[in-house]
């Protein structure tokens, strides 16, 4: 299983990442991808910009570990996770998760699994700038609840 984790202020090219995943294995029959994008509003307020902070070192370790857990559960061939940090604007790409597998079911499931755990375990924090000032984004209960299905659903 090939695993790539990158945390960077730089933007990413989804097409190039997909090509890279495709080139890794002749056994791949499916690549599932997720791209998280910055919204221009949150909780009823306009959001002008967002600053993403992280815990260097731990972030990469946690994400790598989440990918390993996904690989233990579904027969995936490769996974790429890219997460941006620093200053972002609406419509900017924030996060990329790409998973290559023999068949689509495994690719889709592993992609969702990685994203669900990234949201609740990887040490990133968002700070929004709205017309009325700056504020730290609160964690959502729905993100915690999303994990429940991975405890009961069989792969």
């Amino acid at each position: 299983m090939h695993s790539l984790v990158r945390v960077s202020a730089d933007d990413f090219d989804v097409g190039a990442e997909c090509d890279a995943l495709r080139a890794l294995s002749r056994r791949s029959g499916a690549i599932a991808q997720f791209v998280g994008v910055m919204r221009d509003s949150n909780q009823g307020d306009d959001v002008l910009t967002m600053e993403l902070e992280h815990y260097p070192g731990m972030t990469e370790r946690r994400i790598s570990e989440i990918i390993e857990r996904a690989a233990a559960r579904w027969p995936i061939l490769a996974a790429t996770v890219i997460h941006r940090v620093g200053l972002l604007h609406p419509q900017d790409q924030i996060v990329f998760v790409g998973v290559s597998a023999g068949h689509r079911h495994d690719a889709f499931q592993a992609c969702e699994f990685i994203m669900d755990f990234l949201k609740t375990e990887a040490p990133f924090w968002k700070k929004e700038r709205t017309p009325s000032g700056e504020r730290w984004v609160d964690a959502r209960d729905t993100d915690q609840q999303a994990l429940a299905r991975w405890q009961t659903e069989k792969a």
Binding site: Y55, G57, I94, K119, E121, P123, F124, W125, W136, A139
Partner: protein, 86 residues
């Protein structure tokens, strides 16, 4: 020496991203996360509030740690609020 890191809202509230604690400052050679929290809470009400908040998370050497986890000389401890990436 133990390094203690603070992130995001906690870094701003406490006005510091990192503090270093000399072992001589501490009562015991090996202390738990709970004991470190109690030690740091002596710095003031704000510290006590941040560290003892129900949802405050802790990592020791970049692994998620609970309050019973032991901290040793040279360790890196981090306190942070619930994460909001993705």
């Amino acid at each position: 020496m133990i390094s203690v890191l603070f992130f995001a809202k906690y870094r701003e509230q406490l006005g510091t991203a990192k503090i270093c604690i000399e072992s001589s400052e501490l009562a015991a050679e090996n202390l738990t996360v709970a004991e470190l929290k109690a030690h740091l809470s002596q710095r003031g009400d704000l510290w006590a509030t941040v560290l003892n908040a129900e949802n405050t998370l802790c990592a020791v050497n970049q692994d998620i740690a609970d309050s019973a986890c032991f901290i040793r000389e040279g360790d890196e401890v981090a306190f942070y609020p619930p994460v909001t990436g993705g």
